[in-house]
Structures are given as C-alpha cells and as structure tokens.
Amino acid sequence: MKALVYIGLKPGVLDPQGRAIARSLNDLGFDEVKNAFQGKIIELELSSEDKTEAKAQVEQMCEKLLANTVIESYRIELRD
C-alpha cells in the first residue's frame, strides 16, 4: 500500500516562497494567478494490509516527524 502525505503551511502563516511563485507566474503573463502556496508531498510505501490501521500509523508519523503542527497541516491519501 502507498500513502501520500500532503503537507502545507496552515492558513495565516506567511508563505514567502508561495508569494514569490505567484509573482513570477504573474510576470510570465499568467494574470489569473492570485495566490500560490507551496507545500510538499511525501510518498510512503507501507507493508500494511489494513487501510484503517495504515491511516492511523501515518497520522502518528505526521505528528511525530513529518509535519511541524505549529505551522503546518497535513492530509493523508492511501492508494493500493
């Protein structure tokens, strides 16, 4: 089973990299871009068989290491 963990800054936390990306896209003529937010994706290959169990484990991983919950939030997606 695979888990995709999406990690991004919480709303309201200043994201200067996202802002620089939006500005560059505007400079390239993509005027429709109002805002950009940069995050990261971590792909995990798991030996688990059970989805509920896997999700609980990955949540623990996020809390313990993968995300800094002072500034970041995360979302987990499981794939077979």
Binding site: V13, L14, P16, Q17, A20, K64, L65, L66, N68, V70, I71
Partner: protein
C-alpha cells in the same frame, strides 16, 4: 564546571561553541556525537550548536530533534539541565517542543549573513545577567530559516512573562515581534538565531558574545 557541545552530521559551529566555552571555563567541553544515547551525568551545561544538521532535510532541525542524544537531552532539560541552542540549535530546540514556536524561511527569501544589532530585552535570565538592561550588542547572523513564528496567544505569553530575551534592532528576517532569542518557562532552556559564539574574540570583529557565556557559567 563541565560543559558539552552536541555534534550532528553537518554541524558547523560546534568548534566555535567549544572554543567559546573553553575560553570562559578554562576547560574543554565534551563533544557528544549525535549517535550517543546519553548526556554524561557530570555535564552542567549543554550547547546545541549551529550548522545544517542532517542537511536541513524535511525541515531545519527536524531530524536532529528526533536523534537518540536529543531525546535524552529533552529528558534532562525537563529536569532542569541548562541548555542553549544557537541558530540551527534554536531550530532544533523548537522542533523538540522545549521552546515554543517555529523558525521559518526568511521573509525576503534571502540567506542573511552579517553582524546584527540586538537589544537585550531581559537581563534577569541566567543567559544575560552580565548585560546592562536594554543594552545593544552585535552578534553575527547566518541563516535562511530564521523567521520566528508563533501564534498570538504564545507571543503574548512570551512577552508578558519576559521570555523574549533578545530582539533585533533591524529585523533581518521577518521574525514576529522582532524576536531573536527566547527562553522557556523554567528559565533553563534558551535559543537564539544569532551567533554569540562567533563574537568572543577580537579576531571575530567583536567580543559582545562573551557576556552571554559568562552569564551561563556564573549561573551554574
């Protein structure tokens, strides 16, 4: 008086910190490798040095904060052991939760590397007792992820309790409320982005950092 410096892969201020500590204590600090599992019992003060531990992978300080030696450090710090982190050391201490908040990418996205003027905003700590109230000191800064962030409730509490120990005179990185260094509630754990250990010799261009190391040593 026995001090110690923890050494991680890609620490790069460990020797500067060791030199500063030897200068004020007259005794070489123990260098503790990150794979060791325990801070020796005779150690009175631990410095978590600057650098780019574990290549800043995932987040600055994230990996180091979960290394075996740091879990023992957290335990001992919670029992009152004095611990100070400079630059990456500060990032590591926030990642462990010993200090509140987080250090984020500099607001202007630039790596800042220059001498920076700081106001000592609380001299009633074991890290700043050598300084005069509101004195201005110059320490070098060298970081990319130095923008201090915490939520309003945390910032208000830090402010109210006098736990903002250093503030930037000219904020170089977008840190909230100009925060350069903070202390924990118990007063034994301290972290700051600037480098006092690189301001302890005339050859460094200044010796303003000596006061901080003398304060620590005197408090033990």
């Amino acid at each position: 008086m026995q001090t110690a410096v923890i050494v991680f892969p890609a620490s790069n201020c460990d020797r500067d910190a060791a030199m500063a500590l030897e200068k004020v204590t007259g005794r070489a600090p123990k260098l503790i490798w990150h794979r060791d599992s325990e801070i020796p019992a005779d150690v009175d003060f631990v410095c978590v040095p600057g650098g780019f531990s574990y290549g800043d992978y995932l987040r600055s300080g994230a990996m180091a904060a979960r290394s075996p030696i740091v879990s023992d450090l957290v335990k001992k710090a919670n029992n009152g052991l004095p611990v100070a982190g400079f630059c990456n050391g500060f990032q590591i201490l926030t990642e462990t939760g010993l200090l509140p908040g987080a250090l984020m990418r500099n607001k202007n996205l630039k790596f800042v590397c220059r001498p920076e003027r700081l106001v000592v905003s609380n001299v009633n700590t074991r890290y700043t007792s050598y300084y005069e109230p509101k004195s201005v000191v110059t320490y070098p800064v060298a970081h990319h992820d130095g923008s201090y962030f915490a939520d309003d409730a945390t910032l208000n509490k830090l402010e109210k309790d006098g736990r903002i120990v250093f503030r930037y005179a000219d904020n170089p990185n977008g840190s909230m409320r100009d925060i350069a260094g903070i202390i924990n509630e118990a007063g034994n754990v301290f972290g700051m982005m600037p480098h006092p250990e690189r301001a302890v010799d005339d050859l460094h261009g200044g010796t303003d950092g000596l006061g901080l190391f003398k304060s620590i040593i005197e408090s033990i």
